[in-house]
Assembly symmetry: C2
Homo-oligomer: 254 residues x 2
Amino acid sequence: MRIDPNKKHVEVCITPENYSLYEEYNEIVVVVDVLRATSAICTAFDYGVKSIIPVPTIEEAKTYKAKGYIVAAERNGEVVEGFDMGNSPFGFMQDDIRDKTVVLTTTNGTKCINLARNAGQVVIGSLMNIDALCVWLKKQNKDILVLCSGWKGKFNLEDSICAGAIVEQLLESKNYQAVEDSSIAAKFLYAHSKQKYLSFLKASSHRRRLKKLNLNADIKLCLIPNQSEAIPVLKGDELVNVNVKKPREFGVVF
Amino acid sequence: MRIDPNKKHVEVCITPENYSLYEEYNEIVVVVDVLRATSAICTAFDYGVKSIIPVPTIEEAKTYKAKGYIVAAERNGEVVEGFDMGNSPFGFMQDDIRDKTVVLTTTNGTKCINLARNAGQVVIGSLMNIDALCVWLKKQNKDILVLCSGWKGKFNLEDSICAGAIVEQLLESKNYQAVEDSSIAAKFLYAHSKQKYLSFLKASSHRRRLKKLNLNADIKLCLIPNQSEAIPVLKGDELVNVNVKKPREFGVVF
């Protein structure tokens, strides 16, 4: 497990509070917020949204709302009063968003997107788009940092497990190495839970929090891998899908 | 995995940068720095040291040195020039420290002890004293936060695995619960690596760093559980052993 100067890194930052310690790997930052921001973003692109403007604060979201944008705002797992939707992927399965720009603010995910703005490139990761994402990442041939959004700064299991799955896929390419202990731990958590990660995640504090809000359907949806081929990449202030295919017809899938 | 208001918590903070997020559990903070500060502290008490004054900076250590104290100072794995020793446990296996107060500053461990000063009680944990520590902890019947020192703010494997082992032992008592994702992950890492954690820790970045410095003997020593029954507790500015037994004779064990 020596550092190979000829290989690119795929490393994991398991909480956003540690981001500054891992910036050396941020040629590409993959922001992961499995429950639910980054899953919702992939879903929105699958349903034909043109672009998504992630904003860190409710105040900024309100400014966009006043300008007539469709705005999704979530805090503590719930839709913020006065906004069109929250961060449930189901909220984005609708025709109204097709070819529109949607503004999104969430408790954890959009804060992390903002935190990673200094990176060479920011891309959205989730279990929903994991295989398509990893194929795309391998083609970039750059250092990759997977940034787990966690829950209000704390470590969470679902983001770390998703990060571990990304590390595992990237390591299939001989061009990549993972040398940080956080990356090794994330990969280990994934490898030892992948046969049963839904049941393992029952232990997750965030899952427990969402369950209290009766969001079991959201959780189950967000944990199903490879529903989406979206690769949402930050260009300026907007996320756009660099892997555009024909958008889904509303109502076909669910 | 619901929170039980009648049970005490045993939770894990996996990097010192997250400490403020877990302060609600800090009736007792167990500071863990397996490689090597907290292992060295246990060893020092086994060899009869009277007390240890942990200081966060080299400057403070120099002030004590000028006053005539025995001072141990480590940065980046090496003894700092001009000091009596670093944080190798072997350095504390000597008669000179018997009944003396030793001052200690290290890259990670003593910073964490300082960070946790606001806790109800601060105690030193390592694999070396794990069983004795857990017996003592169970008797206190208070919320426990295991604070992993990590490496310069980053997560590391050996401290998280040791923390997971502490969680597992405390959960044997029906009075305890672990509900944070970080605690569940630490316990999982320990449970799935305990048969082979030495080989698992070969993957550890800090272990790799120490290996570069030819400290393999230190690493092997620090990973052997239950060599010590010391329970070093912070009283004012000093760590004292609240589980004093007859100190080891120099040279008997190694």
